[in-house]
Symmetry: D2
């Protein structure tokens, strides 16, 4: 049994990790930390976990994290970069669900995240945890940077096209829509029920932190510099709890059988499902599951491809992908603990 610890277990990615790990056949939950709630039962905060998780929150300073095999950081940005180093030295593997180790260009990261990076040397070591691209590196990694939710849906949707070099990389568009849980479990007016319900809006159009992350990924797929990727990324807030729908637009530069290209690229991927032609995936078709479903369109036979890519932001976009990465890092079946059927309706 792998002993797992979670730092910051009171947010939505934390409780989702708990949901998945509580039933993972190869994992034993060893510690969950929360500064504010130390001593209280996890299941008191999240009654859905009554009977499934018996742990109490422990104080970050006293939690036996050094005895764990793996520690997940489900913390705000800027925490893992301060604590990961010590854990790694103690032989603990680390998976950060925040953004601390996602961007290789330290200056770029510091610009978008507005802080000085506390451990740039770990950024160099960290592996970006998108198994469909970096599977072998993840298997050997000590430190994994779990991708963001928008970046997961968007990069997977663009991946075959960019790898195959058949679209104009200078003019990509990602019009993405997220459920409100993507904004986290924070007491903020803008994500109150009475604000976000029965309402739809774009946000962060001038610039969103997931933009450089997506651009870095696309550049890697293309084998080019990030500066060669022209990407317009517009996120929107949708009145649903879970789910991301990325609608991607790309201009074709080389003809291909695009449906076949996608099917081929993801043929052996356990968590990417390419739908038949003319499909429209809905976000609920992946609700509470670690699946990305993708459909491809070429409206009116023109030169613009439209890719529709959906995930559950808390699973394939966060906690589920983190467990998938853990499975790889410890040589387990990649699907272990991740075969939940989506909840529909």
């Amino acid at each position: 049994m792998i002993k797992a610890g979670i730092v910051g277990g009171t947010g939505y990615t934390g409780v989702e990790l708990l949901r998945l790990l509580a039933r993972h056949p190869d994992v034993e939950l060893a510690a969950i930390t929360s500064r504010g709630d130390a001593g209280s039962a996890v299941a008191d905060m999240f009654p859905s976990l009554r009977g499934a998780v018996g742990l109490n929150f422990s104080d970050p300073k006293e939690a036996p994290l050094g005895d764990c095999d793996v520690v997940f950081f489900a913390t705000p940005n800027g925490i893992a970069m301060q604590q990961a180093g010590e854990l790694l030295k103690a032989g603990v593997r680390v998976i950060d669900l925040a953004a601390d180790f996602r961007i290789k260009d330290i200056a770029l990261w510091e610009k978008w995240y507005g802080m000085t990076h506390a451990s740039p040397e770990l950024v160099a070591e960290a592996v970006y945890g998108l198994p469909e691209v970096n599977r072998e590196a993840i298997r050997k990694a000590r430190l994994v940077a779990n991708p963001g939710c928008y970046p997961t849906a968007t990069q997977l949707g663009f991946l075959p096209l960019v790898e195959a070099g058949c679209v104009d990389l200078g003019r990509l568009i990602a019009d993405a829509k997220s459920g409100v849980s993507g904004a986290g479990r924070k007491a903020e007016i803008g994500i109150l029920f009475s604000e976000a319900s029965d309402n739809f809006k774009a946000y962060g159009v001038p610039g969103h932190r997931h933009l450089p992350e997506i651009r870095q990924g696309l550049a890697q797929f293309a084998g080019k510099a990030a500066s060669e990727i022209g990407l317009t990324f517009v996120p929107h807030l949708t009145p649903m709890i879970r789910g991301i729908h990325s609608t991607l637009y790309a201009r074709i530069t080389h003809e291909e059988d695009f449906q076949a290209l996608f099917e081929r690229r993801f043929a052996n991927e356990p968590f990417v499902d390419v739908l038949p032609p003319k499909s429209h995936p809905d976000t609920r078709s992946v609700r509470a599951a670690n699946t990305c479903r993708i459909a491809l369109h070429r409206p009116q036979g023109g030169d613009t491809l439209v890719v529709l890519s959906v995930i559950d932001n808390l699973v394939k976009g966060a906690a589920g992908q983190a467990v998938q990465n853990m499975n790889l890092m410890f040589g387990l079946d990649e699907c272990s603990g991740l075969l939940q059927v989506p909840v529909l309706p």
Copy 2:
């Protein structure tokens, strides 16, 4: 492996049965019938099942239901009563998720359901599938009448009080609220998104079919005639997909430590969770799980008890309870295939 068939797999209880059975370690899905959709893949109608259910819908007349060990009827009322007899003769056990075998008084059933009963003799044999009350009988049953969703939440909430004889049976009130999936997957104006969303209403106040079912159960618990049970039952439609919240009111006639009474009664029940005093269970704390959570209040120390009882109408209120019954009927671990952690948020 138990071979299971489903008659009527295109409604919400059908797809929920599929979700649960697809991952049940002891079950093999053998057939799913649908008159209108025979030949098409189940996963085409419900893309959430892609990769989990490979079956096609088959025509009810041609489906190998007689070769199954158990057949679930996830059909409208009035179907199972016509087909169950033949299956039972063939040695197949039957679990009806509709109402055909729930009410022992045939005349009463015919009045509320507006049809002539096709097999009254089977009604006598059928066991009402509420394991917390009828566990031993279910183990031996050939035919189980799976309880309705409101009746499950309401009967479990009243059960300890009625068994213990400490409340006025002549003046019970059940104010129940259901998510919209309880109305089924039917093309009806009243349950359109634009009608049911951002809206709340009572319905069926003059009389709802679950009233006689609940009354029959309470009478059994009390060891009295149904006519001695005075129950006012008011169902409401709530703008959520899943969930039932029954708010129950009873006048105390005998003093008791009511919290202890509830905890004792359900101490060994794997799927009933009595919350600590002063709790308010929310429906999402059981979302997609087979759990009933119950809390007890006595406002201002008066003589009125308030019981709050929540379930997921599609799981403990339908498909999950049906699987629980199947587990009992076949001598499996009662929890087999039913240990999903609720999905929150």
Copy 3:
């Protein structure tokens, strides 16, 4: 033109007052205060008011409230009791949408609201602003205590029965459901979209502040002491923005033609609509309008009456009723500015 001021214009009752007053033919908006947002345009915070409200928020200390004819307090509890006296001295009439002047029994108020009352003498003067009961007193009032949302729906639903003395006052039950806007525009975890959506729960069952307010009203209708009113009040949070649905239960002690009783009682009330027998009002049928719709049931002809009463908590339950009270206080047509047709769907 009546010059109106609003203290505390950044909550939901504040913005709803603005929506109504901006188009009121007899009112000129003179000042809206907000400590935190002084100087910024109201329409910057609430873009729905662009083009309709040109005012800036002003600092409470500098706002020309003394020059107003009427000042509305759309503040948290405990503010109006400190400021109303001075305004009244200046000849300004005051309508408090919070709870400061609703409860006549000062000790009772202090117990439920957890503070010392700053101006008990004004409590004695204040008129409880339920026009269907206190219309003539409101016309002459300098200070009106605008009723709470639950109390409005619940008192109007019980009113004819209690006045007529035909139900058991010792065992009334009000099972009430509120949209989330009733909890206000506050940054709290529990009312986040991801917490309150697709979810239903009771809250405050041990005791809610609206209980003594409702009890005081019912006692007044009955001409009895509050201690003679036995009321169980259970509020629930419903995943919708606006709307209250009160489901009321009462045991009949004297027979009556109850439908006729209700129709007669409200025959001349412009904002109470008694529906035909067997109706089920939905909350959206009053969305954004100042109407209370009521239906009456007597299930199975028993001795329990069920009253269904719906309002929009922000209109008839708050801002709309405040405007109705203002109309009465200033001798305007009671319906002035309040004839919006409900928004459906």
Copy 4:
């Protein structure tokens, strides 16, 4: 007073027309037809109209439509083209809220709508009712083709750019999101609450009927042939009742002060509101009102413009715009009956 009739008053555009016309100071409702519901009170079907609309539905054949000054068709496509001619002959002006007269190219219309057009000569006469473009023609029109909801939001968002000739017309993208009421009040599985709630999906990506309508409009603005407009249009279904959010992408070909361009173009438009730079309009900011709010972005100073355009699909996207057109046709104040403040929250 203008006598107005409505053909097909049982859908969402019908009930919205009733909401607006019931309080329009210059209009008298003369007749509302419905084949299936003739004889029953309009307010029985839509209790929100109790007290506001006293009419019964009348049979289309017997309704005194010929005595009206104006008749609105709130019918499915294909009805108005059969009945408008006779009404026009009788001197009645006609506003069609369906699509019968929107597309000037008859063959194109027949291809997209799958029927033979019954009165092509009226198509030539009909004026496309987008007042911001065709105001003078609308004033003189006998027959107005009220624009579709997506086309209204999308055309208004592109209008200044296309008129000014500063973007690449060959590669425009409209990623549009609609509330579910846009699908109408029809008993269809796909728009049930339990299907559409907590869910998001694209639909009609291979081709949607609003595509040729939008393209025709853009071509007119540009003074070009429709074939010169390259438009990718992707509609999505969003879990909210009302609202359209069009996110528009265009490549800049000529530099301009785009913010100033938009402000100038709409300076005198009573129902188009250009927001300050860096704004993100939300759909609720126009809920239940006849306003289109638009914001403009140029992310990272690149060559792609992003326009965000929101309307209420039932108001500016249907019934409200129809009333605006009626006001113009009859020489009334263009804003008459349309000054409702949006309902927020």
